[in-house]
Structure formats: structure tokens, C-alpha cells
Symmetry: C4
């Protein structure tokens, strides 16, 4: 079988993505992880398991094959959440980066089993509707291939509401925490940061008014389209 | 048509204003923007769209003409919120700087559709009464010139309560977030920082006592006058 | 009249006290102030009015005479809260430093008009019982010598409950915020930091249990005596 | 009696553990303390009493004999909480490090007298079930050997629920705050950081849903076993 070469810019991007999780206060101790893939070479790079973020170097990232998870490069064990990442990459070809955190505000909604309502434009800029929460895993799923089943329940959650993963780049896994993704690892981190921000705002919003109304559909669409798709006019048009 | 020269001290002030938003934790990713104007030359300087704050240099700021928004200098696209800024500058000659953020605590009140009550002297030092929240935009307004209509609804909100924009330098736009302003960009940022602080205090105040009483009118006036107008005796008299 | 010399170690301590307020996140913009006195020379040093903390130098501190507030040294205007400080120093000879902030958590209790209950040992280590909140000032007091009346209402609050200012080194002024003090400016800042911490804990405690019970009297006394008075056995005995 | 030599790596680890408490924002002023023991030499190293964390040097740590608390090395007074630490080390041979803080979120639960429910996997990764809260100490216990009785009530709390201290490395002491521990001082700090994180998440969870359900038993066990015991597959297998 031919050797898979890990693109050096992917290694750099995934390393930066992991470091940004720590800098943004989304991860504590060694919780969480970021990964990225190069579809051309079929390689996935992910954080090694249990390594504190301030000790992480680009060379520690673990490379596996995207189609079967076989180790390609690296001396360390990959994140134990690798099967979750693989399931999502394999199901959704448009995804190039995935992030998992236990960030405080988003995890609270996951623990309460409540979707995060789309209360404002900050939310609409990143997520086209309420951020869904998965069902709880069954005992069989937990006792079986737990991390793979976590990937399956994320996919099930998106499909149950017919959601496009690039318009809804986040799911809260019940009793666990958020997974986010995007076209690349940088975008996945952006979405993890945005999710934590909207979770914090939504917590205060429902405390101030338990019956707060979601954003109007027209405004949700307007803000989402400002940033995404053909009519986007936010930013410098570099993406 | 004569060339408009952008005053270099304005460029410096607006750049610093944008950086202070990030340093104060009021903005995340590339959310938000600060602008400033020079009334003598009729120029408005604003943050370019979608640029992260730590990459922003003074030279990236975009200059437009105050009377019609025409590009005067700069290689980048201006913030998509430019029409909101223009509407406010054109309506209120006393305003020299405007800030827009999605800061967590103030945005929560905007999302809940509740004005922020004037509960204490911190509030009174900056805002002469409850900080108002706009009505929601109509679908026609959202689907039309959305950013311009956002400016119009801010003006409508101030005028409905007969508020002087220099005594009430903030409006919460419903389902969106706060806009603040002041005589210059520095003051606009000060007001954005103060607004976030009073929003955080007010959230805790209404949680501790849902029927908390606003500050007495006499105290509101006293604190406002300590800092503003002819009888001001706070500070070193430099402004 | 003889010249009053400002002790240089007092200048250094008061400057450090003001800087610590900013470093501890208790003050925003130019809110708040710290002062200290030297009883031997009868001098009071206080922050100048309206100066941002990161621009403050020791030489900017304003020196006034403790018995009448007359300017002794300094080129700047003293904090507008000077009359509050003077009233407290003149009434309580044991006080050597005073701090005023608008710190978020403590101010929320002041705005809600609720004393902060003594829920735990963190509280007891610094404050011998619930931290009291003053009555609201009358319109006459507000329209008259407002800052002096603020000092009077703090004293009235302590005396109404027969509190020793060194056992209860904090009062919340209603609709305003906390004042703290201590034997010197360093201790006054310590108490301001401790007050913000216990206010944050108490907010969460009453949210978790609206009927939470205060600490047992015996434990309140035990912890207070661990740190204060003849039987103190906390620390290195340096004070 | 033979001289006890303090292992230099223990001194370094305990010093780092104390500094990490400050860096992680778990301690304010001189609150809190970390200790560690070397079972072979029978020595316990602990923070000196009342020393601010940024002034702490490795040489200031106080060494005492593990079996009787007699001073072995050091010029300073040990933390006043030393008897609590001694009681736990003597009762549980598997413990190598202990941490005490007054961290805001965990202390709020201790003050409310509520155990922290196991709402999610972050919790399960560190604590095998709800983190228990002790009963209140009696007046006799408070007036007697208070710090020793604090150790006894922690042990009583663990034993009442038949908890293994290495599976439940934390107890909230009512009206006081959290104690955490682990195989060494580093692990004890990790658990203090994790406890503060889960306390913050749980506060938001019960605010969002007062009837939120704890994590399923199977998931609690799965996550705990991912990190602990023979079947552990999280991390690099270095521990």
C-alpha cells in the first residue's frame, strides 16, 4: 500500500486549531480535541489523547487514514474520540475540520437536554436555527462502540431534522457536550467559539425572559446569507 | 470633486477604539466594529468587514464620505454595518464615534427584548435612564435595506422616548445587540464597556430581586451631572 | 501653617492599592478609588478623579489634610468621592485605608438593596456577619453635599447595627456600590477582593437554594478569630 | 530520632501544585492550599499559612512528619488546615496529594448544602457519582479541634456512602468549600480544576432545568473507566 504523506500546512492548521481552543478558554486540562482532514490524500490529523494543550507540538498530532482509521504517522495514541470524528468525515464530504469541547455554557445546555434557541443575529451568523441536542445513547450503545455510536447519534440528530451540516455546524450530545465542524479546522474552531458565545447569551436570555421569542425567520435567513452562500456580502470575499 | 484627506489622528483613534473592543472582551472572532468621523473633512473611518481584531492595522480602516458613503480611501470592503453608522451620523451632528458589539450581557437584554433599567450610579454615570430596546424590524425592513433600516429603528427608538443621543448613548436593537456612540470613537468605546458592565449588574440585580427598584430620579440626575454638562465636577476637566 | 510631608511609603502603598483594584478586575474605565492615611502626619492620599488605572503614577496621587480636606500636594483634582473617605477616616480612628469600587457582583447586591448573608467561611474570614446595605439617600441628601452624605449613611448603617468597622469592613451603599476599608490601604483592597468573591458565591448560593441557611454562629466566630484579634493563628503573625 | 530528608521532586511538585491553583483562578488572596506526601520517607509538604501565591517559593513550603504532624523542615507556620490534611492522609494510604480551595462555583454548592449531581461526562471523567456535601459541624466540633474535625467529617461523608476516595476524590464541606485529592499533588489540582468546571456547568444546568436528569449509570461508568483502572484507554498510558 502506498505511503500517505501528511501535508505540512494541514499539520500546522490542526495544531493551531487545538491551541486556539485553549486560548479561547473552551478547554480545561486535556478535555476536548480538534481534527482536520485532507481529502486529496485521505489523511486525518487529530490531537493525541490526554495531552495538555500547552505541551502540544505539531509533531505530536496523530495521522490516520480517513477511510479506515489505520495509523499513518505519529508516535502517540490518537484522541479516544477519533471514531466520532471518522464517522462524521465519512458521512459528510463537505466537512474538513471537527472540534469537540466540554465548554461550560454549551455543555450546560447539553446536560439539560435543551436545544439552544436562535435568539439573535450572533446565532444566525453561524447556525441556521436552534442548535439541536441528541437523544441519550442507549445502554447497548454505551457499552458497545461508544465513540462510534456518538458519531452515529450526531448524524441521526441532523438527519431527523433534515439539517445540512454546513448550515448547522454543531450538535449537542446529551449528557456530554458540543461537537462543531466546518469546511476546515479553522472554521470548526470559529464555530466552537461562536457556539459558546451564543450558549452564554441564550442562558441569560431565558433567565431574563423564560418565554423569550426566537429571532424572526426573515432575520435568521438574512444574517445567515450575509455570511454564507452565493449572496454573501460579509467579509473580504476571501473564502 | 476635491480629494478628501483622512486625518491621521482620526485613523489612530479609530484603530485604537477597535483594538480596545477586543482587549475589553466585548467582541469575539470578527463580530462588531467601531467607527469615527471628522466633521470638518466629512470623512468616516470604519473597520473593514470580517477582519479579526488581532490582524487589524490602522491602514486597513476604510474611509468613506460622510454625506453619501462613497469610498474615499482603503483597499478593503467596509463593515457591512456601515449604513447603520451613516444613518446615525447624518441624523445626529453631535456624534463623533459609533460602536457595535455582540457583547454577551448587553446582547442578552436585546434578545429578551427588555430595556436595561437604571439600577445604580454606574448606570447613571453613563446613561440618563433605562437603556431602550428597539422594536423588532418588519420582514420588509429585513428583506430591504436591512442595515440602513437598523439605523432608522435606532433613531425611531430614541425619538419615541424623546431621548438626546448624548445623554442616552446606547440603544439595544431587538434580536441583535447594542449600538453605542459618543462625541468621539474613544467615548463610544467607553460607553460600550460601561453598557456591558451595567447589563451584567442588572442581570444579577433582577435575579436577586425581580422587583428591584430603579435608582431615584434625583440620584440619576446627580450622577449624570457629575460627569456631563456645565456643572460636571468629575475628572480633570480635560474634555 | 507647617508644611505636611507625604510619607513616601504611603504614596507607594496607595498607588499599589489602586493598581491592584484594576489587576483584580474590580474596576472598569476610571470607576472606583483607593486612599490611605498617615495618622502621624495627618495626611490622606487618594486617586485623582477620572484617571484610567493604567495611566496612574504615584506622583498623580492627591494629598489632602485629614482634618479638613485642604489640598496639601498634587497637581490634580482628587476623586470626587473624597468627602466620603474623609467622613469615614474622621469618625473611625482605626481605619487607615478605604476603597470604593463598582465591582459587578457586590454592586448587584447594593442595587437589589439586599445585605450579603454570611453563607460560609470565606465570608467569615473577612466579615463578621451579613454585609449590610445602607438605606437610600433622601432627595435632600442627594441634592446637598452628596458625597459627604454618602459617608454619613455608611456610618449610620454601621451604628444602626452596632458594628465595629474593623470586624465589618464593608458597607453596600444602596443603588450605588461597595465601600471597604481596613487598617491600611492594602487591607482595604484585600477586603474589596474578598467582598467581590463572597458576593459572587452568595449570588450562586441563593440561586441554588433561595432558603439557604447562613453559617452557624460558632463557625462564623471561629473563622473570624482564626484571622483577627489576640487568638489569631492564621498567617505568619507578621501583622 | 533519625532526620527526615524532604525529597526535592516532592518539593517541586507541591510548589507547582500551589502555583497552578492561582493560575487556574481557583484561589484568591491567600485562600486555599495544596499539599503532597512521600510515603517512603513519611514526610508531608504543605503551603505556609497566609502567604500570597505570587510570593510563594519552594523553600517556603513546610515539611511535617506524616504520622504525627511534627515540624521537620521549614521556617514558617504551616497552613492552619494542616490537621485536615493529616487526617485524610492517615486514613487513606492511596492519597498522595490534597487541595483545599474556596473556588467560587464549588463553594456555592457547599454553601447551599447541595451535592453536585453527575450531569455529564466531564463529571464522570473525574467523579464516580454526585460529589457529596458533608453535614454541618456541631458547635462542639467547631469549638474543639476544628481543623481535625473537618478531616473527620470528610471521612464520615465518604464512609456514609461507602465511597472509594480515589473514585470520588472530592467532598464539599458544608458552609465552607471543597477539598479534593488524588494519587499525587498534581492529580489533586487536576481534580480541583475539574470540580470547579463541573460545578459551573451544573449550576447552569439546574437553572435551565430544575429537574435535569443525571447522566445514565452506564455512561457514568464508561467515562470513568475510560480514564481510570485496568481498562483505561484515555491518555498515553503514562500513569
Amino acid at each position: 500500500m502506498a505511503t500517505i504523506v501528511v501535508p505540512s500546512d494541514l499539520r500546522d492548521e490542526v495544531w493551531r486549531a487545538n491551541r486556539r481552543l485553549a486560548d479561547a478558554g473552551l478547554v480545561t486540562l486535556s478535555f476536548g480535541n480538534a481534527s482536520g482532514v485532507d481529502r486529496a490524500t485521505g489523511v486525518l490529523l487529530i490531537k493525541p489523547s490526554g495531552v495538555p494543550y500547552d505541551e502540544l507540538t505539531p509533531g505530536m498530532l496523530v495521522a490516520v487514514a480517513l477511510h479506515d482509521g489505520r495509523l499513518v504517522a505519529g508516535d502517540m495514541r490518537p484522541s479516544s474520540d477519533l471514531p466520532t470524528h471518522l464517522a462524521l468525515y465519512q458521512r459528510y464530504p463537505g466537512i474538513g475540520g471537527i472540534v469537540h469541547t466540554h465548554s461550560t455554557e454549551a455543555t450546560a445546555w447539553a446536560q439539560a437536554g435543551r436545544p439552544i434557541p436562535a435568539f439573535g443575529t450572533t446565532h444566525a451568523d453561524h447556525f441556521r436555527g436552534a442548535v439541536p441536542v441528541s437523544r441519550r445513547l442507549t445502554t447497548d450503545e454505551i457499552d458497545g462502540q461508544y465513540e462510534l455510536e456518538t458519531g452515529h447519534v450526531i448524524i441521526e440528530t441532523l438527519e431527523a431534522e433534515d439539517l445540512d451540516p454546513l448550515s448547522m455546524p454543531a450538535v449537542l450530545v446529551a449528557s456530554h457536550g458540543p461537537f462543531t465542524w466546518g469546511p476546515d479546522a479553522t472554521a470548526a474552531v470559529d464555530n466552537a467559539i461562536a457556539l459558546e458565545a451564543v450558549a452564554a447569551m441564550a442562558f441569560r436570555t431565558v433567565t431574563l425572559d423564560p418565554d423569550a421569542r426566537p429571532i424572526a425567520d426573515a432575520l435568521l435567513e438574512r444574517h445567515h446569507r450575509r455570511k454564507h452562500g452565493r449572496g454573501a456580502y460579509y467579509g473580504q470575499g476571501r473564502r
